[in-house]
Amino acid sequence: MATQDQSLSAGAGLPAPAEARPEAIKAIPVRHWGRWISAVVVIYLVVALMYSFIKSPNVDWATVGNFLFKPLVLHGVLLTIELTFVCMVVGAIGGTVLAVMRLSDNPVLSTIAWAYIWFFRGTPVYVQIILWGNIGVLWTRFYAGLPFTGLALGSTSSGHLVNNLFVVAVLALGLNEAAYAAELVRAGIISVDAGQTEAASSLGMSPTLIMRRIVLPQAMRVIIPTMGNETISMLKTTSLLAVLGGGVELFGRLQIVYSQTFQVIPLLVVACIWYLAITTVLTIGQVYLERYFGKGFGQKEAEAAEKRAGRRAARAHG
């Protein structure tokens, strides 16, 4: 059956006569002895490593199981996911704006974007987190008004900001992410064929419209896989926020616990299990996103187009 189907699709409705097909080659395949031997060695070593880890009295699996679903930990997981999501949204929107600014003909916009990216990529994110955590020391009050004129519509103590560690976290990681995302979005925009912009301008579209409707949707196809990577990376970077104390995310909370109970290894195992679990889910989600933004580029589109054509026909008759 399988061979028949293949010949049908390959010959486009002209199946080769059955008697003309010669017998398939029968030969003894090459034996890859090296692969077999190396596989045995690797499996042996991995089993040994796993055994020593699982059987280690220092891991204390009872404690791991105990903590894995504790409300304290689950809430931490939730906070980590929330932070990752919010920071990536801030980063993606900021990054897109920065990328468009960077590519703009306007030298002021392009220089501002350049300087922003220069600063945020040029300093370690760990330092930036601590800097935002201490921003209240640098500026004690925030004013809304015209600088140097003494005109102020209002002001607020910076303590309001700094006391909300979630806001500090989003500022630190979101603004940092925007700088990295900007470069990814810029690469995506540049990857879109210049002919697309020309065709769109010849149809009378304005530069903004071309960017929004023609270039960015196509750039997405290049950007999405890399942004998926960034999201996974962001998930893990949130653990750096532990330095702020206050337990705004999973690792910070576990750290606070094990610094008191000294169950260091079991709680680190708990952290690893949760990070791995979320990363796995994110990886699967990325596959679906890529499929969505690959619109018009894959074989699947033929099916989707057929469905749409069917609906159109149904509308016309109904």
């Binding site: 064929d193 002919g195 697309q196 020309e198 065709a199 769109a200 301008s201 010849s202 149809l203 009378g204 579209m205 304005s206 530069p207 419209l209 409707r213 023609i214 949707p217 196509q218 196809r221 619109k295 018009g296 580029f297 589109e301 033929a302 187009a305 057929e306 749409r308 054509a309 159109r312």
Partner: protein, 272 residues
């Protein structure tokens, strides 16, 4: 409206005075860096005429076409389309560069078809055709959908409305591109080697659509190597080489009894 079914495009009636050209170029110069690509081009295309630009590659034909809708800025001279100076506004003796919004408005009345089709790959055929009328001219979605469907039927693609460009042959893609340009109801159509990227067996279907357009009275400027097309439908022909127009005139003269040696040489090579 009896022949509406056979007519491909419904175009905006040109608001031109009698005898005024649709395209007029006066001493147009264009250079890329130190390289002069156009060196003083003069030519006119009257409404409803089909004008064919011939010549060897690198002779400046495509550049001239791109200057007409201001995809390239000219360095000297003047270029009018439908009586409007392209890309500039003249106040007294002073030229003011137009804002991109105004350039876009000018371009929206000039259709352009590219050698590499440049369809939007993330949109289906009908979405490609509808996009600009909806976004630029603010045509209601339903009306645009209907008009796009009609246009695609007229270029013979009634069965391919919901197909993405990647699933279309080159000839089909180019016909979608023509429909997309026509959807803006242009006064003028520019064709930049529309059949050069096609398999030989697909050239005919695109040329047929273009011939029909010419017969319908669309004003067209066509850069092509298809001498047969020029002979059949062109009202005027110009041979360009080295950034200048070597010879221009009706096709019966330029293509059958050329005066210039350069034209004779080119034709002997193309027709060989």
């Amino acid at each position: 409206m009896a022949d509406d079914a056979t007519q491909i495009a419904t175009q905006a009636v040109p608001e031109l005075a009698v005898g005024e050209p649709m395209v007029k170029a006066e001493q147009v110069w264009k250079s890329f860096g130190k390289l002069d690509v156009l060196k003083g081009i003069d030519f006119e295309v009257m409404p409803q005429q089909t004008y064919v630009l011939l010549g060897p590659s690198g002779g400046g034909k495509s550049t001239l076409l791109r200057c007409i809708n201001h995809l390239e800025k000219i360095n000297a001279g003047k270029l009018w389309v439908a009586g409007e100076l392209m890309g500039y506004r003249q106040r007294g003796d002073v030229l003011h560069e137009m804002k991109s919004r105004d350039v876009a408005r000018q371009r929206s009345t000039i259709g352009m078809v590219f050698q590499r089709f440049n369809l939007f790959p993330h949109m289906t055929a009908i979405q490609n055709v509808m996009e600009s009328p909806i976004r630029v001219q603010h045509v209601p979605h339903k009306v645009a959908d209907k008009e796009a469907e009609d246009l695609l039927r007229r270029v013979g693609l009634g069965e391919k409305l919901d197909t993405y460009p990647a699933q279309l042959s080159g000839g089909q893609q180019q016909r979608v591109a023509i429909a997309r340009a026509l959807a803006m109801k242009p006064k003028l159509m520019l064709f930049d080697e529309p059949t050069s990227a096609l398999d030989p067996e697909l050239v005919g279907e695109v040329l047929d659509v273009m011939k029909q357009l010419a017969r319908d009275g669309m004003t067209m400027v066509v850069v092509t190597h298809e001498i047969g097309f020029a002979k059949e439908v062109a009202d005027g022909v110009a041979l360009m080489d080295g950034g200048v127009i070597v010879e221009k005139g009706p096709p019966q003269e330029v293509l059958v009894n050329p005066k210039e040696d350069r034209t004779k040489l080119f034709l002997s090579k193309v027709l060989a």
